[in-house]
């Protein structure tokens, strides 16, 4: 249903039919694609290039030059001075629980709406899907006030409420992303044969066993894809921490880089190094899990 996207390669009908036009057309295509690819890479390479050069050298030779040394000093300095270890830890603390909660809740909900027929299942599914599509800014003021008036013991939160805690970001991200994952997983589960759980029912398996032991294992490809997708989504989330977290040292990386512009002032070499450091986790996911990420984005797009 899903991951066929990245893997399938078949020659298209035209390629077979018109071998002569084939070559000529691809020539122009390649030129266009190379130009586009270069344009696509320039901003990234420029950041990397700037990050690799000491500020003294760029001041001396100019940023648009090849002179001077190339080294990783900016990365080292940005890493320590910018407080990256802390920010990465914050990202981890927020991202991992959110992914687990999202997948747990959305798979339960998806199971309930797709494998069992009851009165309001479609209504609820529509509600879940719609919630995910709202612009987050619509909810900003009420959520902020609700969290501010939700008292917590000082042992748990030094603000005495939900603001300025990791919980606030985890909760809201969970709510937002559960809608999307429920929608995707319910489509996936609907496509699984009804006989699977029917047989289990005959054997006397309860709802939970049908969900946990039968349906969930079959959804492994979809879950892997969604987990990868959510990892990127939540790592990339900028808005919720911006709204809820006031202490700079509790911000996740993506929101914290906004402050680096102030920290590093006009030291663009450091800023470039900081930006490049932030890309690294994404790059790792990209290299290792790109297939799952693409599958997640396109999940449910083809019927095969």
């Amino acid at each position: 249903m899903s991951s066929a996207v990245a893997s399938r390669t078949r020659p298209s009908a035209q390629d077979v039919q018109k071998p002569r036009r084939h070559k000529k057309r691809h020539y122009g295509t390649h030129i266009f694609l190379i130009v586009m690819a270069v344009m696509w890479l320039i901003p990234l390479l420029w950041s990397l290039f700037t990050a690799l050069r000491p500020k003294a050298d760029t001041d001396k030779y100019g940023y648009f030059s090849l002179g001077g040394a190339f080294n990783f000093d900016n990365f080292v300095q940005a890493w320590t001075q910018g407080g990256f270890p802390k920010y990465f830890m914050n990202s981890l603390i927020i991202t991992v629980p959110t992914i687990i909660l999202v997948l747990l809740f959305s798979s339960m909900m998806a199971f309930a709406v797709s494998r069992v027929t009851w009165k309001f299942n479609i209504t609820l599914l529509i509600m879940f899907t719609a919630g995910n599509l709202l612009p987050p800014q619509v909810l900003a003021a009420p959520l902020f006030s609700m969290f501010k008036h939700f008292n917590l013991p000082y042992a748990i939160s030094d603000s005495g409420n939900l603001l300025n805690t990791y919980f606030s970001v985890i909760l809201v991200n969970t709510a937002f992303q559960t809608g999307f994952c429920t929608f995707v997983l319910s489509n996936y589960m609907k496509a699984l044969s009804a006989d699977l759980t029917e047989a289990a029912l005959v054997d006397g398996a309860g709802i939970w066993r049908q969900y946990w032991n039968i349906i969930l294992p079959l959804c492994r490809p979809a879950i892997a894809a969604l987990a990868t997708l959510e990892l990127i989504f939540i790592y990339n989330d900028f808005f919720w921490p911006l709204l809820f977290i006031q202490s700079g040292d509790r911000l996740p990386v993506t929101t914290a880089i906004n402050n680096l512009q102030g920290t590093f002032l006009s030291d663009y070499n450091l800023l470039a190094a900081g930006a490049t450091i932030t890309v690294i986790p994404t790059l790792i996911v990209y290299l290792l899990l790109q297939r799952h990420f693409v599958a997640g984005l396109t999940l449910g797009s083809s019927k095969g």
């Binding site: 809740f105 959305s106 009420p142 930006a275 693409v294 984005l297 449910g300 797009s301």
Partner: protein, 319 residues
């Protein structure tokens, strides 16, 4: 999709599944099963209600009050005064509306067709297709906040690559691409396109793989050229994906926030409705009522694509 978070919409190709399926009725379930099921439904639903739908309703309520956001007892009824202030006396409002419209038009006319073009070119079995795909795909994985910073380095007035390439760096003609209110919206749109086109490309690549090859074959046997085959056969056959792309594009343009907020918090030529909402909520002069009125305006506009999408996605199952 944006605002830190993608606006991730699943594609509902599987919807038209006509295969009749025996799904169990709830009355066949035992008592324990019913309790388990209630918990499985109850917890996620409660979270959705408390953290999404109740705040949405509260947002509407807050748009009719005057409040500084501090003490609940300070809330004063204000009628529609917040709305009349926003429409008549709030200078950045109409520029923000224009910018949101421009954002939508730019994505719809430039970014989305570019993504489709890339997908079509890469779908032909050309050499290096995977490499090209990977390159165009990189920005899709980056946060819009980070994209704002990366492009800042590119666009900067004195030390940015663009002005060096144009030969204006260090001269009085050098443009501050993100700072100059005449051009910064366009500069931001190009940065947004960098990401959006790759996203659209990925979705259309999946869509193109899903189009039956025999359709294309039949068309070319009938003498259709490549353009006719694409626009008359292939493109219409991708209707479910086209709908998703339309919705994504509209919602992206309404959710656009991170890039402009990273550049200058959505001021000085980069006003967007989403950024104005936040400007009114944070900072010293908290004007919750005005911020909420802006949020409700954003909500009402967003409901158009959302309802359109839901009616397409769920239309066959219900109503």
């Amino acid at each position: 999709m944006t605002t830190g978070m993608e606006s991730p919409i699943g594609i509902t190709g599987a919807k038209g599944d006509a295969r009749p399926r025996k799904r169990r009725r709830i009355r066949l379930l035992s008592r324990t099963d019913k309790i388990v099921l209630s918990v499985m439904v109850g917890i996620p639903t409660l979270i959705q209600l408390v953290l999404i739908w109740i705040p949405t309703v509260l947002s509407i309520g807050l748009s009719f009050v005057r409040w500084n956001g501090l003490d609940l007892s300070d809330i004063k009824a204000a009628g529609v005064s917040n709305y009349s202030y926003v429409f008549k006396d709030y200078p950045p409002f109409w520029p923000a509306v224009q910018h949101n419209v421009l954002w939508l038009v730019f994505l719809a006319v430039i970014a989305t067709p570019l993504g489709l073009l890339l997908a079509v070119l890469l779908d032909q079995n050309i050499r290096g297709s995977k490499i090209y795909q990977s390159i165009f795909f990189i920005p899709v994985m980056l946060s819009l906040a980070l994209i704002g910073i990366i492009w800042q380095l590119f666009y900067q007035k004195d030390n940015g690559l663009l002005n060096f390439l144009l030969g204006t760096a260090g001269t009085p003609q050098a443009v501050d691409w993100f700072g100059d209110s005449d051009v910064n919206i366009w500069a931001a749109l190009i940065a947004a396109t960098w990401r959006h086109a790759g996203y659209v490309m990925i979705l259309y690549l999946a869509g193109l793989k899903g189009v039956d090859a025999s359709l294309k074959e039949a068309a070319s046997l009938d003498g259709a050229n490549a353009y006719q085959t694409f626009f008359r056969i292939v493109f219409p056959a991708m209707r479910p994906i086209n709908i998703v792309i339309v919705v994504i594009t509209i919602i992206e343009s309404l959710r656009a926030f991170d890039i402009v907020y990273v550049i200058n918090r959505g001021t000085n030529g980069l006003e967007l409705i989403s950024a104005l909402v936040i400007q009114n909520l944070v900072g010293e002069g908290q004007v919750i009522g005005v911020g909420s009125a802006l949020a409700v305006i954003l909500l009402v506009i967003s409901l158009v694509p959302i309802v359109f999408y839901l009616s397409r996605a769920f239309g066959k199952e219900k109503v």
